[in-house]
C-alpha cells in the first residue's frame, strides 16, 4: 500500500522539492553576512512618501485592512503592511487611522499600532478609539463606512492593504475624490485594473507577498523570496517543456504529473 495517496505522488514530490528549496534559501539567508538585494517595489517606497505628505498636510495616514480576516493569508499579509506603516508613522509623528472589517483582526491591529507608537517619539499620540476603526464584516457596509471615514478624515495618503471584491473601484474613487495619494496592494487580479485607474501606486500580484517580506526587514524572509524565484524558474522550465511536448503530441509529462 502506498504511503502517499494515489494521484498525489507527483504533487507531493514537487511540494517536497519546493519546500526543500525554500528552506535551504532561508538557511542561506540566515548565514549570509549581507541581506539579499531585491529590486525596489515602487508602492512600498511610496508608503514612506505618503506618510511624509500626511505629516506636511497635517492629515492622518489611513490604512484599509478591509474585510480580510486571519483565516486567510491575505489578512496576515495586510498586517505586515500595517506593522511597517504604523512604525513609520509613529517615527514621523503622523496621525494614523485603520479601517478594519474582520472582528478578530481588531485586537491584533490595536496591539500592532499601540506597540509601534509606544516605541516612537510620541507615544501619547496613540488613541485606540480614534485610530482603530472597526466598520463592518459585510462587504458593502464596510465600503460605505470607509467612504464616510475617508470623506471625514481626508487623509494625506491611503494604503489599501486588504483583499476585496467588486467594491475596489468605490474604495479607489473615495480616496481620489479627497485628493489622497493612494497605494494599493492586493493579490486579487481582478481588481488590478480598478486600482490602476484610481490609485497612484499599485503593488501587483506576487509583489504583494514579496512586499510583505521587504517591509518586515527580516533577512530570513528575503531568503524565502530567493527560494521562490528559484522555484519559479523550475516551474517555467516545466511549463515550456510541457507545452513543447503537448505541441508534439507527447502526453508523457502530463501522465507523470497525474501519478
Amino acid at each position: 500500500m502506498s504511503f502517499v495517496k494515489t494521484g498525489k505522488i507527483s504533487v507531493f514530490l514537487l511540494f517536497a522539492l519546493c519546500f526543500a528549496i525554500i528552506t535551504f534559501t532561508l538557511y542561506l539567508a540566515k548565514k549570509r553576512e549581507k541581506p539579499i538585494k531585491l529590486r525596489s517595489i515602487a508602492g512600498v517606497v511610496a508608503i514612506e512618501e505618503g506618510i511624509g505628505r500626511s505629516v506636511e498636510l497635517g492629515k492622518p495616514f489611513a490604512v484599509d485592512l478591509h474585510t480580510s480576516g486571519l483565516t486567510g493569508v491575505d489578512g496576515v499579509v495586510a498586517l505586515s503592511y500595517l506593522s511597517y506603516s504604523a512604525k513609520k508613522a509613529a517615527l514621523a509623528g503622523c496621525d494614523y487611522v485603520v479601517g478594519i472589517g474582520a472582528p478578530e483582526v481588531v485586537p491584533v491591529a490595536e496591539d500592532i499600532v499601540r506597540t509601534a507608537y509606544a516605541s516612537g517619539p510620541k507615544p501619547e499620540m496613540f488613541n485606540a478609539s480614534r485610530m482603530i476603526q472597526y466598520i463592518s464584516p459585510v462587504q458593502f457596509a464596510y465600503t460605505g463606512g470607509w467612504i464616510g471615514l475617508v470623506g471625514r478624515e481626508k487623509p494625506g495618503a491611503i494604503l489599501i492593504a486588504g483583499s476585496m471584491g467588486a467594491e475596489a473601484m468605490l474604495i479607489g474613487e473615495a480616496g481620489q475624490m479627497v485628493g489622497s495619494i493612494q497605494i494599493a496592494s492586493a493579490s486579487s487580479i481582478t481588481n488590478i485594473p480598478f486600482f490602476i485607474t484610481s490609485c497612484d501606486y499599485v503593488i501587483i500580484g506576487e509583489e504583494h507577498y514579496v512586499g510583505a517580506a521587504v517591509v518586515s526587514g527580516d533577512r530570513v524572509q528575503l531568503g524565502c523570496i530567493l527560494g521562490q524565484d528559484y522555484w519559479k524558474i523550475l516551474t517555467l522550465a516545466l511549463i515550456v517543456v510541457g507545452a513543447l511536448m503537448a505541441t508534439l503530441g507527447l502526453k508523457d509529462l502530463g501522465d507523470i504529473l497525474k501519478i
Binding site: T71, V138, Q139, F140, G165, A166, S188, I189, T190
Partner: protein, 272 residues
C-alpha cells in the same frame, strides 16, 4: 465647445448614466441576443444530465449582487423543475439563505415540488473553505439538520447523498471569488462537474478554468443571466435588464470619447 468641455463636471455624466439606465424600464426596447459560447457550452452539458440527477446550487452572494446573479439562480431552479432534477441549495454567505428563500418565492417551488423528496435547503454553511471541505467529504457528519430544522433522517432525498461524489453538478451562484473554494476543494478533489454562474466582476477569474475543463460552463453577469434565461426558456430580470446594460455600456464608451476630447482640448489650449 472646448471651453464647455474643459469645465464639464463629471457628475453630469454620472447623472446621464442614471437616466440612461432607467429609461429602458419605462420605454422597453428589445434587441436580439447572441448567446455567449461559455453559457452555451454549460447549457449543453446540463442538457445531457439524466432525469433525477442531483444538482447542488450554492448561493454565495449578498443582496448587493442580486441583480446579476439572482436571475441565474431562478433560471436554474426553473430548469431543474422542468427536467425533474433533485435540488440541494446551500450557501457559504450569511445572507445566502435569505436570498435562496427569495428565489423559492419567485419560482413558487413549494407548490411545484415536494420538499424533502425533490429539493432540500441546507441553509448556511458557516466556516468558509473549511466548511466546504468538510461538506464535500461527509455531508451528514457536518450537517444534522436542514435550514428549517428538519433532521436529515426525515429528508428522503438525503439518504442517497453522502459526499460530493453523489452530486451530478455544482451550480455556484457567486458574486466574488467565492466560487474558487468550491472549485479547488470540491471539483479539484472529487472531480464533481462545476458550473460557475458569477457576476461580471468574477467572470475574468472564472474564465481561465473553462478551457482547462475545470468548469463546464460560465454565466457572465447580467449578460450571462440573459443568455441562460433564453436557453432555459424563461423571462426574468436577465432578459429584462439587458437593454439597460447595453445603454450603459454605450454611454461608457461615449464618456471615454468625451474624456479624450477634453484632454486634447486642454492640450491645444495649453499649447496656444
Amino acid at each position: 465647445m472646448a471651453e464647455v468641455l474643459l469645465k464639464l463636471d463629471r457628475r453630469y455624466l454620472q447623472l446621464a448614466l442614471a437616466i440612461i439606465i432607467a429609461l429602458p424600464f419605462f420605454f422597453p426596447v428589445e434587441f436580439p441576443i447572441q448567446v455567449s459560447p461559455e453559457t452555451k457550452q454549460g447549457f449543453d452539458f446540463i442538457q445531457k444530465l439524466p432525469e433525477g440527477s442531483v444538482i447542488l446550487i450554492a448561493y454565495d452572494a449578498s443582496a448587493a449582487g442580486m441583480a446579476e446573479v439572482h436571475p441565474q439562480f431562478n433560471a436554474m431552479i426553473e430548469y431543474c423543475i422542468k427536467r425533474h432534477f433533485k435540488i440541494i441549495t446551500v450557501s457559504t454567505w450569511a445572507e445566502g439563505p435569505m436570498l435562496i428563500e427569495w428565489g423559492f418565492r419567485d419560482t413558487k417551488i413549494f407548490s411545484r415540488l415536494k420538499y424533502g423528496q425533490d429539493f432540500v435547503n441546507l441553509g448556511y454553511l458557516s466556516g468558509g473553505s473549511a466548511a466546504i471541505m468538510a461538506f464535500a467529504k461527509d455531508v451528514h457528519a457536518l450537517l444534522k439538520m436542514d435550514h428549517y430544522g428538519n433532521k436529515m433522517e426525515t429528508l428522503p432525498m438525503m439518504d442517497k447523498i453522502n459526499n460530493a461524489k453523489d452530486i451530478a453538478l455544482i451550480y455556484d451562484v457567486a458574486v466574488g471569488g467565492g466560487f474558487t473554494d468550491w472549485l479547488w476543494y470540491v471539483q479539484g478533489v472529487y472531480k464533481t462537474p462545476m458550473y460557475a454562474a458569477v457576476s461580471a466582476w468574477a467572470a475574468p477569474t472564472a474564465l481561465p478554468y473553462l478551457p482547462s475543463g475545470q468548469i463546464v460552463g460560465l454565466n457572465n453577469g447580467l449578460k450571462g443571466a440573459a443568455d441562460f434565461e433564453k436557453l432555459v426558456g424563461v423571462r426574468g430580470f436577465g432578459l429584462g435588464g439587458i437593454t439597460s446594460l447595453s445603454s450603459a455600456h454605450l454611454w461608457a464608451v461615449l464618456v471615454m470619447v468625451i474624456g479624450n476630447l477634453i484632454y486634447f482640448a486642454g492640450k491645444r489650449k495649453g499649447g496656444k
